[in-house]
Amino acid sequence: MFVIGMRLNDKIYTAAVLVFLSLLLSLATEPLCLDRLFYEGVQLLSHTAGGVARTTSLPVAAILCVFLAVLPLLWLPKLTPIQSLAANLLYLISVTGILLVGVLVFRVWIPPLGALLPILLAYPMWRWRRLDSAQLFLDRELQNLRDELAALGMEQEEENAAANEDPLQSRISRVQLTAKHLRDLHQSRSDTLTFISHDIRAPLGAAMLLLDKFEHNKYTERMGKMITRAYAMAEGFLQASRAEMINVNKFQELDIVSLIQQAVDDVYELSLIKQLKLSTRLPEDPLWVRGDFGLLLRAISNVLLNAVKYSPEQSELKVLLASDENSVELKVIDQGPGIPAKKITKIFKRFSRADGEHQAQEGSGLGLYFVSVTLRKHRGRITASSVEGHGATFVITLPLERRKANSPVENERRALIPAMFSDSI
């Protein structure tokens, strides 16, 4: 909204200046000797063409000039700087041409200064306004950011040191400092993650091992559950933050079919315990996706584990993968209790839990949130649908990697087909 308002203000401002300039030049044109010179030149021209040009009345000329002067504002906001410069020059030349045609053919002389000079000035005028408001906007945003950082306790630079330098220099140094603060924040965030990943999980892990040394009774069992849950929460928090901080530039090409197969393999034992019928339908050939292998594997495992967890014993769990030329779609269909309609929109949010289950059995409440963040970062998505009492369906879509033509691997894949027969890849 602010930007649109700013753009409108810029237009009005520029238009006002141009109109004023144009009126001034066309109404006060008589006393200006420059115009006189033009006039005499034109008279000379028209005499040679046979006849004397008639000068238009002052108000008519002024209105025409104003109109011609503000016309560039129609295209200036839409074009790039170099384009608008070229357009304006072209416009200037054509206006001059039209005025000359007016004199030579129609014998009408319009004093041109009120149109030509504003047209010349229109471009610098407009660029200057734009720059000014862009700067104002950026200054404002920078100040907001700095205020937020200050509220977080990041120190500000000494004001007087900055005041000594010229405004541009101090602005640059403020941007640099703010950027540094942001980098520091990022760093401290990953430090916290490392801290959690090691320093909190390690003692919990040690406690889990030590607990094994005791004879099993109901107390050790309960303690074991508590420790496992605390560990799962630390892990869940860590995973969710990791997903939020994925570096998209580190994505690698991976075979999503193998990855899903691996996730299915991982839940095989659990499904065996519950005597589930695992119906997996995966394509034979690899399908390539660009992404982070570890995070995607964990995301898909989370969805499968979730489905196994809510599946009743001896029920069927379907894992289906289909693809078209642009994307893959994975469906995980269970026959569990399903998800109530009012809960279904919330399950992918942070710290959400499905109702009706004892707390100690729950995970961190971050599992599906992690999945949705991970998929979003991979330009994919996850949706859930369910009829209460009739199971739930989770659908994951991911865009396929599109290789450039001529890439060496594309050739290699083609080579694979005959090689199957010649047995000599």
């Binding site: 390690a202 040690a206 889990m208 040394k213 075979d255 393999d265 690899p286 292998f293 691997v409 290699e412």
Partner: protein, 227 residues
């Protein structure tokens, strides 16, 4: 069999020593990297187990120092609280043979230890025929059979299968596989390994239903395990 354990967390160390000793291994325990670096050349060890965070240095650095001081080393397992992909890739690139993320079950740690020791023992010999349940690999005729039926494998697929089965349970790094099976291929052909592994899995039916699990570890390494 003698194992060196480098671990500063005494609670962990105590448990792990107990596990190993019950499996009839001799264990020397070190709490600091320097301590270990001073002692290890004097004893012939069959396996090293390293923690990541030590009071005086980091596990990967200890490993690098060890590799500088000796050219004939036993396999190295990292036993670490770190599970980040970057960390695991780093220790694998530095030359670790495997890693186990804490807190691991006794069964998992012992499986990794045994797989590595078995690999060292069996490295030199090539047998005429390998049998793994319903699967049979004949190294002379280079024919693979699954439940008596021949499975068509390409040359490279057969090599890869043989290598995986000979190193059952061992983490095989991607670079290592590329070198062994293809004799070094360019990084551009990264799909190649994945394509072959995917074919191997579907042709030989290496799925848990048949008692197998073929896992990719962040695409940096692969492991074939018996379920």
């Amino acid at each position: 069999m003698k194992i060196a354990l480098l671990e500063d967390d005494l609670a962990f160390a105590e448990t792990v020593i107990e596990w190993l000793e019950e499996a009839h291994f001799e264990v020397d325990h070190f709490e600091t990297g320097l301590d270990f670096l001073r002692q290890f050349p004097n004893v012939q060890y069959d396996l090293f187990i390293f923690d990541w965070a030590l009071p005086d240095m980091e596990g990967p650095d200890v490993m690098v120092s060890v590799k500088l001081r000796s050219n004939k080393l036993p396999p190295i397992i990292f036993f670490t609280g770190r599970s980040e992909e970057d960390d695991i890739v780093r220790v694998m690139e530095a030359g670790a043979d495997d890693y186990v993320v804490k807190p691991a079950s006794r069964a998992l740690l012992m499986a990794r230890v045994n797989a590595l020791l078995r690999r060292v023992a069996s490295q030199s010999q090539v047998e005429a025929c390998y049998e793994y349940g319903a699967l049979k690999l004949d190294t002379k005729s280079r024919v693979a059979t699954l439940a008596g039926e021949e499975v068509k494998l390409t040359d490279k697929e057969f090599d890869l299968a043989l290598y995986f089965f000979k190193n059952e349970g061992v983490l095989l790094s991607r670079t290592h596989l590329m070198n062994v099976v293809w004799g070094a291929i360019s990084e551009l052909e990264t799909r190649k390994v994945d394509v072959h592994i995917s074919h191997l899995r579907s042709k030989l039916k290496l799925v848990p239903e048949n008692g197998w699990k073929l896992t990719s570890i962040y695409q940096q390494g692969y492991r074939l395990e018996r379920n």
